[in-house]
């Protein structure tokens, strides 16, 4: 038994180290993009750093006590674990280790608790990043708290001034579902091996909304969470590169020159009522989106109601900052080599950019469709803002509008579909979570 373990150690250690080295380089690359290229630095600095920490060999920062016990390789502990998990008849050393790991991951909750207790008694403990992940992401809390803060930062004025822009936010979600089909297609073609849950989690990248993507993948495909979050935030940062060619290809110069009518004044009372209206509609028709949209509406109500400004300030500052730090480090813990260095990651990166492109196109085309039936024309350049990526996508719309017509300020008009896209992808997230659970449960 001991030789067996030793053999594994000597063979596995080098491979591990190679993967970890690559991942440390990936972490440094993310930091470079975040710091030098200003790629969503608030998230990518903690994610990149967390990724490096998760790959420090021997530190086991992203492992639970039980996983650390397996990685530790003490034969007595391994045997105890194997007996516990009913995996003791395995033969080759490598198969033994990996079979134990799988058995641990699939064990019912009661056995996982026992394995945890065995590991604790053997002197192992949960790694720092594992604890952060449990509290921040596995509980679902951190993405929801961030969403509350985003709600407290969001001004629905432009959307209320022109509610039709909600359709642009709806159309852009086609990026999500096209990507689901794409992921399924790759699986059917035998190129990748995505389950339906994986496909749904990958699709949500097309929502261009970080906390929503993290929330959905933590529920449906935790092992892919690292790659999905990295893809989502990276492509959000790349919106100024990804979107313009698509927007130009799908619009004529005349369309791009359309000047939109001045937004009407939206009263305080409308702004207070809107999050409640949205909440009621969620309660009536879409309970599955209740956590995400509920917290979003709560944040927005705190902002607009005007009587709890100290809570709103805290939600927009101290609380969202604290949560962002731990969320980022926790996402980083999913950049451990054995989870990230997988062909699936390449698939995720490829599908993610397609999702953004399709979402952009769908938004622009929907704007053109709306123009066929409306009196007040919409500049189709604001359709692309429906993917969310707040406020980057709206700025892109504005920039292309100014290129076509130097007096055409689209920024405020584009903020409508932009925040509509946040609502749209939260709705899509709710639908997918329920449908996937019904399919797999």
């Amino acid at each position: 038994m001991e030789n067996l373990i030793n053999l594994w150690q000597s063979s596995g250690a080098y491979q591990m180290a190679a993967g970890q080295f690559v991942m440390i380089v990936v972490g440094l690359l993310l930091l470079f993009l975040a710091i030098n290229k200003k790629f969503e630095p608030l998230l990518l600095v903690p994610i990149g750093f967390g990724g490096i920490l998760a790959n420090i060999p021997g530190a086991d920062l992203s492992l639970s006590a039980a996983e650390a016990a397996l990685a530790g390789g003490d034969p007595r502990v391994l045997l105890q674990m194997a007996q516990l998990l009913g995996a003791e008849q395995l033969e080759s050393a490598y198969a033994f280790e990996s079979a134990l790991k799988e058995a641990l991951g699939n064990a019912p909750a009661a056995l996982q608790l026992r394995a945890e207790q065995v590991a604790l008694d053997a002197g192992y403990s949960n790694g720092m990043l594992y604890n952060f992940y449990s509290v921040a992401i596995a509980s679902g809390a951190a993405p929801l708290v961030i969403f509350m803060g985003v709600g407290a930062m969001t001004d629905f004025g432009p959307l209320l001034g022109n509610p039709r822009t909600l359709f642009l936010g709806a159309a852009a979600q086609f990026g999500i579902f096209a990507t689901v089909l794409g992921a399924v297609g790759l699986s059917v073609a035998g190129i990748m091996d995505f389950s339906i849950a994986d496909a749904a989690a990958i699709g949500i990248i097309g929502g261009a909304d970080g906390p929503t993507a993290i929330y959905v993948s933590s529920l449906l495909a935790p092992d892919l969470l690292g790659a999905i979050a990295v893809a989502a935030y990276s492509y959000m940062a790349l919106v100024p590169l990804i979107q313009p060619p698509i927007m130009r290809a799908l619009t004529t110069p005349e369309e791009r020159k359309i000047e939109m009518v001045q937004l009407r004044h939206v009263s305080k009372r409308e702004k207070i009522t809107f999050p409640l209206l949205l909440l009621i509609l969620v309660a009536l028709f879409l309970p599955d989106a209740a956590p995400l949209l509920g917290m979003f509406c709560f944040g927005n109500l705190m902002r607009e109601c005007g009587v709890v400004s100290r809570l709103s300030d805290t939600a927009q500052n101290a609380l969202i900052n604290i949560t962002t730090i731990f969320l980022g480090l926790s996402v980083g813990s999913k950049l451990a080599a054995d989870k990230f260095l997988d062909p699936k990651t390449l698939g995720i990166l490829a599908l993610g950019i397609v999702a953004f492109a399709i979402g952009t196109a769908a938004g622009v085309l929907m704007a053109k469709l709306l123009n066929l039936v409306s009196k007040h024309k919409i500049n189709p350049l604001i359709g692309s803002a429906g993917v969310s990526a707040v406020p980057m996508a709206a700025r892109v719309s504005n920039k292309l509008g100014l290129e076509a017509n130097p007096h055409n300020f689209l920024l405020m008009h584009a903020m409508g579909p932009n925040v509509a896209g946040v609502i749209g992808s939260a709705v899509a997230a709710g639908v997918m979570i329920t449908m996937v659970r019904a399919m797999t449960g």
Partner: protein, 79 residues
């Protein structure tokens, strides 16, 4: 199994886009009704309230007051 996966993907796409559009359509309608009711029956007496956030407002006030004091001071000297 693979056909099933494809079927599942199509189901999610069709239902998903359907529900997203239906829900946002309801929201458009609801928003329209809400805005009309509020604009007609509960119009605002005064213009939009100033921005929320005591700190920032406080700072702005402070600066304005300081500015005023400095202005006053300069005017006095000039006279």
């Amino acid at each position: 199994m693979q056909e099933t996966l494809l079927q599942q993907g199509l189901d999610i796409t069709l239902f998903g886009m359907g529900i997203v559009f239906t829900f946002l359509l309801l929201l458009v309608i609801g928003t329209g009704i809400m805005s009309r009711i509020i604009t007609r029956y509960f119009p605002e007496a005064e213009p939009a309230a100033p921005a929320v956030g005591g700190q920032a407002a406080g700072d702005a006030h402070l600066r304005a007051v300081i500015q005023a004091a400095i202005e006053q001071h300069r005017k006095n000297k000039r006279r």
